[in-house]
């Protein structure tokens, strides 16, 4: 693609190379550590599910038992494998016995290492096969019933009752939505476990549970077959259980996951060591499962100014890209985030937004960019809000964005009502059709406002990344350079769940999943 913005390729390369070094430095830290949720994920992927009598998930029961026995640094897989060899039971049966107090898993005799490895890999491969089949099923759907055109229309459902969500999701699909995101109930990100079963009374959304995933998946397949368009399901792979949610999503064929390397640190005050280790394994799973990840750069602009801090969005996109590559996520699955969040009263603000969106398109040519709607300057004036959303839609079709999170006229008032979603879909469909090829037809004036703005943002991002490369990401975050939020290395939630691996640690799924299907 020829640059319409006359961007300096040398600067892009320099920025990307700095981001690569930043990610590589952190990767050394990541590779040395594991976390409780990473280990619970391994347990889940080996088939452990369900809850005990006080609704504590069995993966937690099992991992806690290993942690108390001082064995976590070897990895859960080893202990499950050892117990399988010792008892002949399945991982699920072992977890149940641990829960009943009949097995203290780290106290079993240590079996022959080869036998343990064989038991672990045999079990792990079954799950890998299941996830591969899910991926094949998605591809089969896409080849048979097809999909909507990009930008995909992405809407949220957030009733708090998964069954009510199903109704709203099916309505939205019939109206033209391509992606349904089931909003999570507030504060799930801070739970150090994944709740179990269907949610019927959530606040502002439902829990990300495997059962909820299953219920919605079934509903979207049903409506997709009926209308002849595959409907993608999206949830939130963030918080203290990133990799567990990724695993559940892979098992239940989710298609899109919010999954940012830094978001939890900045906006949920989760400890940075914890999040960086967690995001890595979660992304390996998402990559393998063919799930498009969505990163959360849009959030910077809800706390910081969209004009002044535009370069931090680009810098973060480049960092997210490098972390994603480390975890084996191909560019085609990188829904890097950005947002239409400039103050609407700004003179020529539309041109700056256009410059930003086109710049992201050119710097990440293969990524299905996730474009977020105006929220910060939505006022409750639903009529003006509908216009703001129209301007946002116009830029999206113009700059070939990948995933369009539709703005709602009632943003800032309530979670969307049934008709709000219809009005927003109608808004986007009208503009996407009416201005379909504008991006192919219109070029930007050389050295005009749009070109200059994009060049300026790129230059600032490159300079910021160079600084971060020198300081390291941990120091950068401690100084508050992203989204104006400061977090300390040892502060925040979840640090107690980070454990250094010993030299015999192993996680079969990194081996089996990293880098896609082998």
């Amino acid at each position: 693609m020829e640059s319409k913005l006359n961007l300096n390729q040398g600067l892009i390369d320099s920025a990307r190379s700095a981001a690569k070094n930043i990610a590589e430095n952190v990767q050394q830290f990541i590779d040395k550590n594991t976390t409780v949720t990473v280990e619970r994920t391994v347990a889940r992927l080996m088939g452990v599910d369900g809850v005990d009598e006080i609704d504590k998930p069995l993966p937690n029961v099992l991992v806690d038992n290993i942690k108390e026995g001082g064995g976590l640094s070897r990895g859960v897989a080893f202990w499950i494998g050892n117990a399988m060899v010792n008892t002949g039971l399945t991982p699920q049966e072992i977890a149940e016995k641990v829960s009943a107090g009949e097995i203290d898993i780290t106290k079993l005799p240590i079996a022959d290492e080869k036998k343990i490895m064989d038991a672990v890999y045999e079990t792990a491969k079954m799950m890998v096969e299941r996830i591969k089949n899910n991926r094949a099923k998605r591809e089969d759907y896409l080849n048979t019933i097809g999909e909507g055109q990009k930008p995909y229309l992405y809407v949220i459902v957030a009733t708090g009752n998964i069954y009510e969500d199903v109704l709203q999701a099916q309505a939205a699909a019939r109206q033209g939505a391509d992606v349904i995101a089931v909003i999570r109930t507030t504060a799930q990100s801070l739970l150090d476990y994944v709740p179990y079963g269907p949610t019927t009374e959530g606040f502002g959304g439902t829990f990300a549970t495997q059962e909820n995933f299953r219920i919605m998946r079934r509903a979207l397949d049903e409506v997709g077959e009926e209308i002849g368009r595959y409907i993608r399901l999206c949830n939130y792979c963030s918080g203290l259980c990133m990799p567990e949610i990724a695993a559940m999503g892979a098992m239940e064929r989710l298609d899109v996951m919010l999954n940012d390397a830094l978001y939890g640190i900045l906006f949920r005050d989760i400890n940075m060591q914890r999040t960086l280790v967690d995001q890595y394994f979660s992304r390996i799973i998402n990559g393998f499962a063919g799930i498009i990840i969505n990163t959360g750069e849009d959030n910077y602009l809800t706390t910081a100014d969209a004009v002044e801090e535009a370069h931090t969005v680009l810098a973060s996109q480049l960092i997210n890209e490098q972390f994603a590559l480390k975890a084996g996520i191909p560019e085609e699955q990188m829904g890097l985030g950005h947002a239409f969040e400039m103050n609407p009263t700004l003179e020529n603000g539309f041109l700056y937004e256009l410059a930003q969106a086109q710049m992201a398109r050119e710097i990440f040519p293969k990524a299905p960019l996730k474009y977020m709607p105006p929220t910060k300057f939505m006022t409750g004036n639903i009529f003006r809000g509908h216009l703001q959303d129209a301007m946002f839609n116009f830029i999206s079709i113009w700059t070939h964005q990948g995933i369009q999170l539709l703005g709602m006229p009632t943003e800032a008032i309530h979670t969307p009502h049934l008709q709000d979603r219809m009005l927003s879909i109608e808004n986007a469909q009208y503009i996407f059709n009416n201005a379909k090829n504008i991006g192919d037809e219109v070029e930007f004036k050389k050295d005009g406002m749009i070109q200059k703005r994009a060049q300026e943002v790129l230059a600032k991002a490159e300079s910021l990344l160079k600084d971060i490369e020198t300081e390291g990401i941990f120091d950068t975050i401690e100084k508050g350079k992203f989204g104006g939020v400061k977090r300390s290395f040892t502060g925040g939630k979840g640090l107690a769940g980070v454990v250094e691996k010993d030299e015999k640690y192993f996680n079969p799924f990194i081996d089996l999943m990293l880098g896609g299907v082998k």
Binding site: A171, R174, T186, F203, F267, T302, G380, T415, L418, M422
Partner: protein
């Protein structure tokens, strides 16, 4: 002007293009399938709401056996505007510089304000707009004020932690932001904070203010807060209220 009817403030009704035509536009969804019967149902419903001449100007099938309507109707009711009283934060607001001068002259020390988005609420846009340096829409936040030490604790702060921090920083005022109001979760959360402060014996020693798009001053007072600030409030409004309260309540 001659020939134009004068507004009768004791009997006010909506204005479309002629005084007292009562015209109201509305839109809603009914859980019935699209068609003539659906439109008739919508008209009957709007009649029951107290509208004459209900008219469906647009309707659309929402795809799950539900129908969306855009309607007009002539309101038959009136209100007496002359008897209306709304509780408000009834003070003259100062701008940033006036607040700064006021602190210098009357309080003569830094005013400490601790703010947070509490409970399960993760939406910091409101508290950020009031507290952060940048502020919102050209109105600087409290961090920018000389004489105010503003501490923004961010999102999802438990009430216990907010109180603990307020004590630690010797706060003069606590600001609580609540954006998520689904199923009235904010009411329970706001009430709990007041109760906890009362139990700790802190309620009279600190100024307690809440804010958010669905918060009114009236609601705030009902819940035991000193003030509530809704949409369109800026840092200087909150700052004016806090510094004047400090002086009035002799919390200097």
């Amino acid at each position: 002007m001659e020939g134009i009817q004068k507004v009768d403030l004791t009997n006010v009704k909506p204005y479309g293009d002629t005084l007292n035509d009562g015209m109201v536009q509305m839109s809603f969804t009914l859980p019935v399938p699209y068609g003539d019967e659906a439109s008739e149902a919508a008209k009957q419903l709007v009649s029951k709401m107290g509208f004459d001449e209900p008219a469906v100007v647009y309707s659309k099938d929402l795809g799950v056996g539900y129908t969306y309507f855009v309607m007009y109707g002539k309101c038959t009711h009136t209100v007496d505007y002359t008897t209306i009283e709304v509780p408000k934060v009834d003070i003259e607001f100062m701008d940033r510089h006036q607040v700064e001068d006021y602190i210098k002259e009357n309080i003569k020390r830094d005013v400490v304000i601790v703010g947070a988005c509490t409970g399960t609420d993760a939406h910091t846009v409101g508290i950020d707009a009031i507290m952060n340096m940048k502020g919102f829409d050209g109105n600087y936040g409290l961090e920018r004020y000389n004489g105010i030490e503003a501490i923004n604790l961010g999102s999802q702060v438990p009430n216990e932690e907010l109180i603990a921090k307020a004590i630690e920083f010797k706060a003069d005022a606590i600001l609580v932001s609540q954006v998520v109001t689904q199923k009235d979760v904010h009411i329970a959360n706001l009430t709990q904070l007041v109760e906890m402060m009362e139990a700790e014996g802190l309620r009279d020693k600190m100024i307690l203010v809440c804010g958010g798009p669905r918060i009114s001053h009236e609601l705030a007072q009902e819940l035991g807060y000193d003030a509530g600030f809704g949409s369109g409030s800026f840092a200087n409004h909150v700052a004016t209220f806090v510094v004047k309260q400090i002086v009035e309540r002799n919390l200097i």
